[in-house]
Symmetry: C2
Subunit: 126 residues, 2 copies
DNA sequence: CCGAATCCACAACGATACTG
DNA sequence: CAGTATCGTTGTGGATTCGG
């Protein structure tokens, strides 16, 4: 992930540009809402309101904002059905699906170590 | 990961409390700095200044803050050598090591899809 | 060398209101 | 129903300074 910042090579500028891009994308993806959206979508196709309902605690704004970001990065596909009322559906693209294992792993890890972490926190706070 | 918010069960309060704890821990871990720290530490033991040097772009404050959080959650172990100047070393604990695969997977994913995402962005921005 | 505290600019977020 | 815009509050994060 992290490459050297400066090596005096002729491609120096390109390297740092590529790095900052990688870092930016990494930040987009190492983000709780994005990972929860991926986890909830999984292999399904869900409407905006369904996503909103399944991800408890997410605001309308955060959901649109993250979906827009993920669409821009090509992680989700957005399909609009021009009916009334409008119906907008989201589904994971191939790159998005490639993240399911990671998102799922994070959730699994959280549950697995929940008790351990709770105990560690009590020790630390004392 | 996400459990129902309300089911009228007698344990209702406990369930939502456990959920908010899980969500809190998930947010701590689904965080770019924490994942980069895990990725850089890997199986090594590094000093604060070494970590700071290897994670380009992280500020002194962000590093201490995240290390403190990770120590509290039991992801890293902090050992202080009472010399002068002081020497403080960090290493991953077992729960922390259990996240290496995930952190590494995210980095790998980023590099694998870098070009794809860059192209997707160009399309979207047009 | 490491860490904590202060200050402050600005980004994130929630709430609300308005459009197609 | 879905999306955008605005506003006000909270929080985040960098720079700096001081202390062990």
């Amino acid at each position: 992930m992290v490459t050297e910042q400066f090596r005096g090579s002729p491609k120096e500028a390109d390297l740092t540009r590529a790095d900052s891009l990688a870092r930016e994308i990494f930040s987009d993806v190492a983000n709780k809402w994005a990972l929860l959206i991926i986890n909830v979508l999984d292999e399904r196709t869900l409407r905006f309101s369904e996503l909103r309902h399944e991800i408890q605690g997410i605001s309308h704004k955060m959901l649109t904002q993250n979906l827009r970001m993920m669409e821009r990065n090509g992680l989700v596909e957005r399909s609009v059905h021009p009916t009334v009322p409008p119906r907008v559906e989201y589904t994971l693209t191939e790159p998005g699906r490639a993240l399911r294992g990671i998102a799922d792993g994070m959730c699994g890890w959280t549950h697995q170590y929940l008790g351990h972490i709770e105990a560690s926190r009590r020790r630390f706070d004392a």
